[in-house]
Symmetry: C2
Subunit: 604 residues, 2 copies
Amino acid sequence: MTYQVPIQDIRFILRELADLRGVLALPGFEEVSEDLVDAVLEENARFVEQEIAPLNRAGDTEPARWSEDGVRTTPGFKAAFQAFAQGGWQGLPHEAELGGQGLPKLVAAPVTESINAGNLAFSLCPLLTDGVIEALSMVGSDAQKARFIPPLLEGRWTGTMNLTEPQAGSDLALLKSRAVRQDDGSYRITGQKIFITYGDHDMAENIIHLVLARTPDAPKGVKGISLFIVPKFLVRDDGSLGARNDVVCASLEHKLGIHGSPTAVLLYGSGQGEAGEGGAVGYLIGEENRGLEYMFIMMNAARYAVGLQGVAVSERALQHAAAYAAERIQGNALEGSAGPVPIVRHPDVARMLGTMRGLTEGARAVAYVAAGYRDKAAHLADEAERARCKAIYEYFVPIVKGFSTESSVEVASLGVQVHGGMGFIEETGAAQYYRDARILPIYEGTTAIQANDFIGRKLVRDGGAVARGQIAGMRETAAALRAASGVHADALAMIGERLDTAAGAYESALAFVLEHVREDIRGVFTGSVPCLMLAGTAHAGWQLGRSALAAAAAIGEGSTDAFHPNKIATAVQYAAHVLPRTLALQSAIRDGGLVDRYVRQAQI
Amino acid sequence: MTYQVPIQDIRFILRELADLRGVLALPGFEEVSEDLVDAVLEENARFVEQEIAPLNRAGDTEPARWSEDGVRTTPGFKAAFQAFAQGGWQGLPHEAELGGQGLPKLVAAPVTESINAGNLAFSLCPLLTDGVIEALSMVGSDAQKARFIPPLLEGRWTGTMNLTEPQAGSDLALLKSRAVRQDDGSYRITGQKIFITYGDHDMAENIIHLVLARTPDAPKGVKGISLFIVPKFLVRDDGSLGARNDVVCASLEHKLGIHGSPTAVLLYGSGQGEAGEGGAVGYLIGEENRGLEYMFIMMNAARYAVGLQGVAVSERALQHAAAYAAERIQGNALEGSAGPVPIVRHPDVARMLGTMRGLTEGARAVAYVAAGYRDKAAHLADEAERARCKAIYEYFVPIVKGFSTESSVEVASLGVQVHGGMGFIEETGAAQYYRDARILPIYEGTTAIQANDFIGRKLVRDGGAVARGQIAGMRETAAALRAASGVHADALAMIGERLDTAAGAYESALAFVLEHVREDIRGVFTGSVPCLMLAGTAHAGWQLGRSALAAAAAIGEGSTDAFHPNKIATAVQYAAHVLPRTLALQSAIRDGGLVDRYVRQAQI
């Protein structure tokens, strides 16, 4: 088995932490039972473990290749994508009215995570397609929805997001691609887009590019950007495929990781299609000059999904390292042993695995809890409650994206270290996660971009209201942990104390941010990423603290499942080795003003 | 320019922090003037920048290749090695009586660092050769020294260290390679060695393998290991090369990084040489069964050198990222700007670069300070003083190895992040450092092995005496920083406060280790790597604090060199963003007992 979906942990988090029952009781989910959720998770695990996880290494060693006739993906990917489509997995998270299965995000989240863990490079194709479906469903015209969504949902076509140009990465104000309106209401698009994931491939019949471009008379900056649908093959009125559009893949990037995912340079309007002169044929979505706003619809979904990718790579790296540490015999035990022992017996290997496991399971729990709020924001009957849950979900998006992905780099790096010299040998497989994970804190908005969003829109805008509510929750759990009795009381108390310290650090950082952001914005943003990481570290610790309480309760009720003491051990390791980082982060945030002053004075 | 040797920082550290003057005044260095040191550094910089740094990327993209006729290294490496040999660089750190140049380690350290920064994969060949020269000079017979050392020093031959076997990595007790004594006093060696750096190549005429193996009647475990010289080509009495010995390279590893460095599987006694049956011809070094002890001679030198490799990769990654951040225009300034600005103006990019620079320059200063103690340990007239300096140097070796290499992984990862999406594209070059650096915390003893050495032999054995002396030094610098006046008083005070906190954290961790190591060894070693990292973080902060004081003094004396305010800014950034990590590490160390208890109870 190359990868096993951690289905017991998934179920535990859904039920004990993320209020699965509450979500299933929401209006609109009447037909979704806990049994159905279990069945979906089990079928998903089978699909991931048997169909796509075994292709993960092939994606790395036999990357997608450019050819004159289009990009050829890794052998096996096309068949796997067909299986994916036939399994209905693309439709799983989407509304029933669109033709999706209408399952809660809370159920879609573990499914997405597992597919990504099975094969990160493969899964980017459905991930981007999800974003396109989401954007079309929110802002597309009825005709656009009818034409484009069903084939995307069915996995016959796939989608891409076209933002980046060589001079315009994080700063979309610098976009140059042009769109000129034609008499028939369509547009002709010209320009060059880079870093287009699955910008060309052979896994589906058609590719629907969503492209940001400027009309000739558009305002400068981000307020002059419009969003267009540009299909690879034009679509006739009956839905059949017509002329090849003037969008071509000029080359693929040679990347550090996710080799199986073709990253394309796309040329629009280079005169190579069959659809006439003047550029690629595109169709405006919504209104002109509102493209960035629409793109953010895709982007927020994609950011959350990339956060799940972080959890996914972490889990896979963890499983790989844990298996090696259990098998590799090397060195006597510190306390004495008859001979060499499996390296997991050495305290530092246990520390590394525990840190990996805590970061992975903590980030997973935070992501699922966030998904639960997303479902409530969409389905609760009470409007004020919906708004409250929406604000909490949006608060979580940069945390899920930033914390899970930064953690995945650390987890994958520890995974290499656990393997010792073997970790540096590519055939071992640990190195692939280290390479693959490195893109996650970059794409769909770097960690700094997430941190800007977090501070500017999620902490400052509401005066810290949502954050304070979360901190109060942390304090409550900390108090429960410290008050716990029973055989695990000392462990729970320690977790409670470290969680309390973390909550205090978060509170102090929040106060600093709110107090200084107006008069010293640079000083505050010098601590932006530390602040985001502090929040993520504390939230993950909170969820692991709740896990420990739930596990202790299960043990108290007679559970003999090793899962429960293991969960407590993971929470203990995280509380000891990770939660106190919040102290360092808080200190860094509070020094922001002085740091910024010195950095600006210096000429470095 | 692909890489610039940071010669101003090197000189600053040598003079202001590492007591170059005191070292040059030692007996034995009468002929080494400060001017000579400058000339060596300048010539070295020229060699690095012009000869080997430009080959760094070729080493990555055109790795060494196995062939039936032996391993072929990257085009250009052979000529570069000849230039290296002709420049006398191999001899630089070695005693004049051996034919070396007899320069202080304090001067050899920046030279080694720079060569490694220029080309890490290339530099492994001289690094290993240094270790072989050192071992032969310490424990070889006069005949062995006379025969093998001169060609190694001249760069006509190179050397390797052969420890690892598939079942024996960190645990050398599990070694199986055999050595059988022959009537002529030589031995026949059989067995398989893996991970042999430059185990075969085409850059020199001969390769001298130092090989650990067991004689037939040797005791079990590490006390039954002997050390042998096994030349690739046997050496005739006149020094000319004779028959091809029965040691062959069976394959090269496919590695995550340092592709230019061939990592060989070597077969001894597979019957493929011209030197008869029964195994490769080898010559015992010193006495039987003392091989591990001798190997540690090489290993300590190699560990220190690998620490310098950490500094080297960090510096190179830093230069790459800083150049990109100064050029890449993206996004308006937070405080407002007329248009997009270079990304270095964004606070989080400045944070990343400052963290990279602080870790790099801090680790460099610690390494050079350690080298100064090494020189004093070897050259001081007073025996007690020599012993004191030797203990301090040995205390530093695991810190230099562990902290510099772990930091290099972080620095290289931040370097990718600074580049955004471009960092993930191999052609950009940032990804290579991220891949290359990853081996550094593994080879020549993983960070956990360094941490075991640190706690067991460097903290506990002397009851914490050396460490307490160092902590007292930190406290003194912290007091001086807090008492400083002048325009930079607030910055110096902040650095002083963070350094004081770090010293306190170290003191507390040390007390915990000493108090609990007897009764709860596993609990203490659960915090072994955190303890080593705490020490490294505090020591680097100490040296940066001293740097800030020296820079402020220079400014006070009228310096208008931007180097000085920049140095203060780096110290400020490190004090804010890195030093407070010591709080988290201390907390983790103190929780070790509970963590270990729970990990052992759990079945994970």
